[in-house]
């Protein structure tokens, strides 16, 4: 049975509070590919980013969750219900955007969204209309005449309408221009703030890092690691290059708190700093400074270096 919605957040909870729980899930295709022994969970009010290269098993995981395909081993529970047995009830509370989005070519966006709204037995048209207005989506052109980005907008409205408790989005911003990507990210953050959960996949960490609370890395069908984005950010070293007017003493900077790497060559100093920047900045300010640059490595580099260290 599905557990009932909690009245305060609108967010549902399973026995341990997780909205989605994969437990030892395996799905292998005949031609290879699939996922192996996947265990993960998504919490209420959380944006979970699922990161991996194409073909790593992200779409397989998502289609398993929606009961479009069935696991060969393991169990998947959503809202505390079984992904297969309780599938219809689960899908009533899930908004889904497929990675390989296909819409009914002969119909207009208005037809498609009306159709799904009727099938969901619910969302008010005014809400659909306001989502479409926000994304500047023209509802009355036939799908076959729409560009990829515009189709993606139709898919996003279809997923978000009715404010489902769980959003499952496969590469949601692919094909969208940066401005719209940002709008979509804002919508997802707003959904999470309202206590709903988001499970989104991407092959770009920078995107996931912008919206997700936690990131799971999947490679060749196996979940490699799950990290909090906040932890990743704290781990991220700042790369600081300083040029002074005269050569500094060898250990002027090396002994400062947070400095992990310090190389001095002539008047140039290269520092890598994690954590609090203030001691280093103060020291630099007090020195005879000629030039300064501060760079933050991409989270991709951090994440991957972390993964490489961990393995």
């Amino acid at each position: 049975m599905l557990e009932t919605q909690s009245p305060t957040t609108g967010a549902p909870s399973g026995s341990d509070g997780a909205v989605v729980r994969f437990d030892g899930v395996t799905k292998i295709y005949r031609g290879g590919g699939g996922v192996r022994n996947l265990t993960l969970n998504v919490q209420p009010g959380e944006v979970f980013g699922f990161l991996g290269p194409n073909g790593a098993g992200k779409t397989t995981t998502i289609r398993l969750l929606l009961d479009l395909i069935r696991p060969s081993a393991g169990t998947i529970s959503v809202f505390g219900g079984d992904s297969r047995r309780d599938s219809v009830e689960i899908r009533r509370r899930v908004g889904y955007l497929p990675g390989d989005l296909a819409l009914y070519e002969q119909l207009s966006a208005r037809d498609v969204l009306s159709h799904f709204a009727h099938l969901r037995g619910g969302p008010e048209w005014s809400q659909i209309h306001s989502l479409a207005t926000t994304l500047e989506l023209d509802l009355d052109r036939p799908i076959r005449s729409l560009s990829r980005g515009t189709r993606q907008k139709v898919g996003i409205v279809a997923a978000l309408m009715g404010e489902p408790d769980l959003l499952v989005l496969d590469e949601p911003t692919s094909g969208l221009d940066p401005l719209v990507q940002r709008q979509v990210h804002d919508m997802l953050r707003a959904a999470a703030t309202a206590g709903r959960s988001v499970f989104l996949s991407s092959h770009v960490l920078s995107e996931v890092a912008q919206v997700a609370d936690r990131v799971g890395l999947i490679r060749d069908g196996e979940l490699v690691t799950v990290e909090r984005v906040l932890d990743l950010r704290q781990r991220a070293a700042h790369l600081i290059d300083v040029r002074l007017r005269q050569e500094p003493s060898r250990d002027a900077f090396a002994s400062l708190p947070g400095v992990t790497v310090c190389t001095v060559s002539g008047r140039d100093v290269h520092l890598e700093v994690t954590g609090d920047l203030r001691p280093v900045v103060s020291a630099i300010a007090a020195s005879d400074l000629e030039d300064l640059s501060v760079r933050e490595p991409s989270l991709e580099e951090v994440f991957l270096s972390f993964y490489d260290n961990a393995s």
Partner: protein, 278 residues
Amino acid sequence: MTTPPELQVDAGPTRLRTIFARALREERGALIGWTIGIVAFCLVMLAMYPTVHGNAGFSKLLDAYPEALRKLFQLQDYTTGAGYLRTEVFSFVAPLLLTLFAVLWGSDLTAGEEERRTIDLLLANPISRRRFVSEKWLALVVGTIVIAAALEGALGALGPLFKLHVAWSALTAAVLGSWLFAVAFGTFALALGATTGRRGIARGVTTTIALASYLLATFSQLVSWLRPVRNLSLWQHTLGVDPLGTGFHWWRLGLVVAVTLVFGAFALWSFDRRDLAT
């Protein structure tokens, strides 16, 4: 100048409340086309009838044909209205046109959505796979009724303009037989499409079996060793028993309905247990 969004009048949602409604809507163009085609075919056949009707020369000519040929082409009473329709309309072309339409559509009902990948988004909605298949099947039944009704209407209503008179009940028996044959194979194509997810397989296999069914029933009139197995042919039960001349054969029609329901049940069962379009 563009109108600010808050001043725009929005047309609101459209209908398309069910998968059934959308299936018919998407097939609308094809339905109209096939209906026009079948009515046009009827008109051509009716227009030629006055040259045959009561033509003693024709009767003599046909009597001179070998019996085998007369049976094969169902040439008995060719110069009467019912006999003419049996030969020219119901012996092959009209039932098979209706069947071809049903097979093409039936194979597309679920497998088409899988091949076009629209199924993912559709089944993200809270509807069971069984409901999806059932509504699609219902659309097939209703859509073929439209074409069958056009067939009956064209022959029954326009026939008298060409001096072709045939009892409505006899005509209805023949059209009902054609329709049941078409729906049976349309459902079979749906079941194969639901099992394999591939339209091509569903179409190829179903068309072959439907043709074999026609050939078995027809040639069993000539080839005695085929006679014991001709009841395996759905054509035999629907059109092989000359519904225009002998009316409704209820147990045979009931048998075809039962077989169709078995195909439908198989479609529900096999679609429910599969991985979709992987």
